[in-house]
């Protein structure tokens, strides 16, 4: 590879930044409904991005049924719009090739630039077609129903990105030297690896980082199906409501009480799996040991829905316990034990323990297997009894693992998960079962209070991260090792 670059090439490398940024801009905009240039009339869903309008015709026209039947809009204009969006997306896809190939050698760059020029042209074509579809729709007989409107911002952004890309690519193409006849396609391995990694990074970004953008809903007065604009920007109103609105405050206090109670029970009894493992290791019969180890982990692998199904099968009025009591004549009518709202926290803890105890013990069982047997032999020789050996050898051997687990559960004190409480919840026991995760779900998805539930969820996420860092620092301080 030729390492000495001419001045022109160096300039080209600079221009490539503009080139790549404009590609990136188009890609990002493709996902944002607000920047969707294909939103040309009131019948198009506000929450649809350019990508969606280019991928799914059904979603594009889902609200247009009446307009088509009445003849307000010709279906062909929507087909044109769909084709236009698809072409624009395709154009962007082609420019991605250009962006990727720009990391290679001169030959690769030059070929890639061709893709860039074609892609930008296709993208522009798509935008022009969208405009054409708009003029068709705007000619409607009933503009007050159809509400034709051009998304000027979106259209401009995409056009600017495409034009900048087109111009910069042509300039680069001119600046780059001619390709030698025997030159091959080449790319440094660091970029090769990076490009192979890129699609996965993109997926990760879209599904793990992009949701953070949704935190903005916390600052708006948003109703499902509406839009975010400066009109309904409310600043910290929803945050203040947590403390000022009496009803919300009561809810939050109750929810926090339940969350902390449930997590607290878990933390207080977090030594149970360790005890389980230690006592299990005292069982000398290998068969019994294997039996216990194999089957006590089964409940961990079933969902909470199934745990609830089992709870019903055992404790409902037509379940196992009731049948036994009926058959022995203790009661004369089946009792639904699940209806009782006494000791809900304890019951939830019991279900959680039933489900998770055997599984959580595994890490300690393998920990015990790793303890030096000579320690036990030496202790036996010194006359140590069974419990002395447990307490003085096994427990100290397991404490490091235990500390990690404990710190993790302290860090996760606000996250009980919602599955368990969702399935066991009834109108009567919700007062005791409503934990933070369930509350956020019910508030946001059930009642459509999106801003408020975002506020609660956001606070929870932030506090959880802080707790995790604290736990990590404690671990570093005490054990000299981090846990994350």
């Amino acid at each position: 590879m030729n390492n000495t670059k001419s001045g022109k090439e160096r300039i080209a490398d600079k221009i490539y930044y503009i080139n790549r940024i404009s590609i990136l801009l188009s890609i990002v905009l493709m996902f944002f409904p607000a920047a969707n240039p294909a939103k040309i009339c009131g019948y198009i869903n506000k929450n649809m991005s350019l990508l969606t309008s280019g991928l799914s015709y059904n979603r594009l026209v889902e609200d247009c049924g009446r307009a088509f039947r009445q003849g307000w809009i010709a279906e062909s204009s929507f087909q044109l719009l769909f084709a236009a969006s698809l072409i624009a997306c395709l154009g962007i896809l082609i420019t991605i090739v250009c962006g990727c190939m720009s990391l290679g050698n001169v030959k690769m760059k030059k070929t890639g630039n061709l893709f860039g020029i074609v892609g930008a042209a296709v993208q522009l074509l798509g935008i022009v077609m969208i405009f054409a579809a708009y003029t068709q729709v705007a000619a409607t007989t009933r503009p007050e129903k159809v509400e034709p409107a051009l998304n000027v911002t979106g259209l401009l952004l995409f056009t600017v990105a495409a034009v900048v890309l087109l111009v910069s690519t042509i300039v680069i193409q001119v600046l780059l030297p001619k390709v030698g006849k025997d030159e091959k396609f080449e790319m440094q391995s660091k970029f090769k690896l990076f490009l192979m990694f890129l699609p996965f990074a993109a997926l990760c970004f879209v599904f793990s980082y992009l949701p953070l953008y949704g935190w903005r809903y916390a600052f708006f007065d948003y109703k499902s199906g509406g839009t975010l604009s400066s009109d309904n920007f409310v600043g910290f109103k929803w945050f203040l409501q947590l403390f000022q609105n009496e009803a919300t405050k009561t809810d939050i206090v109750r929810v926090l009480r339940n969350t902390l109670a449930m997590s607290g029970l878990g933390i207080i009894t977090s030594w149970l799996p360790m005890a389980f493992a230690i006592f299990l290791s005292e069982i000398k019969s290998a068969k019994v040991k294997r039996f216990v180890q194999t089957f006590s982990t089964i409940p961990n692998f079933i969902s909470w829905v199934l745990v609830y199904a089992i709870a019903l099968a055992i404790f409902a009025s037509d379940g196992f316990v009731s049948s036994i009591l009926l058959n022995t004549g203790v009661v004369d009518k089946g009792v639904n034990f699940l209806m009782s709202t006494d000791h809900m926290w304890l019951k939830m803890w019991l279900w959680g323990t039933w489900k998770g105890l055997g599984w959580s013990a595994i890490i300690y069982i393998s920990g015990i297997a790793g303890i030096d047997q000579q320690l036990y032999e030496a202790a036996t020789v010194d006359g140590a009894g069974r419990f002395q050996k447990m307490w003085n050898i096994t427990v100290p051997g397991l404490v490091p693992t235990f500390m990690v687990m404990l710190l993790m559960s302290v860090a996760g004190i606000l996250s009980n998960g919602m599955d368990q409480y969702l399935v066991f919840e009834t109108a009567n026991n919700i007062e005791w079962l409503n934990v933070l995760d369930l509350y956020v779900y019910k508030l946001g998805i059930g009642n459509g209070m999106i801003p408020l539930s975002t506020v609660v969820g956001m606070s929870k996420s932030i506090i959880s991260v802080i707790l995790l860092f604290l736990a990590n620092s404690i671990s570093k301080l005490v054990r000299g090792e981090s846990i994350v």
């Binding site: 090769k192 690896l193 089957f295 829905v305 946001g444």
Partner: protein, 320 residues
């Protein structure tokens, strides 16, 4: 290595020593009490872990009239399989079953492929800003935006009421990537280097060397991934509100458990023949049978999972 005479003699002596030694330690009363309590506790606990499944099972294969009366508690009577066959005739259940199977197979396959490949890529020191990108992945394990922003994001991406909502978000799984990466790092680097010297590309090395050698860890993440897919329920609940055809089996089961009317509906919908509905099926049996259909796949793969447990719980030991 052949043992010398002396060593054999020593071994024999040692054995004898242990024999007499053992005899010296007679079990005390305390030991016996301890052992009895210990054994009883563990066996009882384990039975509570498996009995519910047995109870569900015998109630689905026993005579439905006896089941309704609550007469089937320990021993099945009047064995028949018609509950299962009529359950599979009910369109809702078989469709949900197909959805669950589909997402489990496709989702797991893609997740394993991606984890293996990305796990391999992030072991390559020469990758452009490798550390940064690796952190970019790993950091997502420790925060999440919350359920509402997640939902809004999915709907913005057009992933509501769509089967792909089950598959695509799960492809990049940072925790599994870490597991694979750690495993690949333990494979001797010589193999890869010599292949590289021979001019093999990254892809070839991945296919011919890394993939076959990391099969144990891939099997582990595959099994845990599959169980996760099979059991996941909230994504169906939240994302498929307008598309009952994409409900997972867990979601269906949840609905049946909660709404008696729903169960009557399925019995009365004609999907199950009326005679079956009136005389054989009752809500209890339907609930139990759907539960069994949901749990059977887990119980079937369970024996194969056992040996992967320890690898799967490396959580505490793994570092980002």
């Amino acid at each position: 290595m052949a043992k010398t005479k002396q060593e054999k003699l020593d071994a024999k002596k040692e054995k004898e020593y242990y024999k007499t030694h053992k005899r010296q330690y007679k079990l005390t009363l305390g030991d016996i009490v301890f052992n009895v309590i210990n054994y009883v506790f563990f066996i009882a606990f384990t039975i509570t872990c498996i009995f519910p499944f047995y109870y569900l099972f015998i109630n689905t294969i026993s005579d439905n009239d006896l089941v309704r009366k609550g007469a089937i508690n320990f021993i099945p009577q009047g064995i028949h399989l018609s509950n299962y066959t009529s359950m599979l005739q009910a369109g809702e259940i078989s469709q949900a079953f197909l959805v669950s199977i589909g997402r489990t197979l496709l989702g797991t396959a893609l997740m394993v492929l991606a984890s293996a490949f990305v796990g391999y890529l992030v072991t390559k020191q020469e990758m452009w800003h490798r550390k940064l990108w690796y952190r970019f992945l790993v950091i997502t394990m420790y925060f999440n935006a919350g359920i509402i922003p997640w939902y809004l994001n999915m709907s913005m991406l057009g992933l509501t009421n769509s089967f792909m909502a089950y598959i695509i978000p799960g492809i990049v799984a940072p925790y599994n990537i870490i597991l694979v990466k750690t495993y690949i790092e333990s494979i001797p680097a010589d193999l890869e280097e010599s292949a590289f010297m021979d001019g093999a590309s990254y892809m070839t090395i991945f296919r011919k060397i890394i993939w076959p050698l990391s099969k144990p860890i891939l099997a582990t993440i595959a099994i845990f991934g599959a169980v996760g897919h099979w059991n996941s329920f909230t994504d169906s609940l939240i994302l498929m509100q307008g598309a009952p055809e994409f409900y997972t089996l867990q979601h269906r089961l949840y609905n049946y458990l909660n709404q008696a009317s729903n169960i009557q509906a399925i019995a009365n919908s004609g999907q199950i023949s009326e005679t079956v509905a009136s005389s054989l099926m009752n809500t209890k049996v339907i609930k139990y049978t759907v539960s069994m259909v949901t749990v059977i796949p887990i119980l079937l793969v369970y024996p194969f999972m056992n040996r992967y447990f320890e690898k799967g719980i490396m959580l505490g030991a793994v570092k980002g």
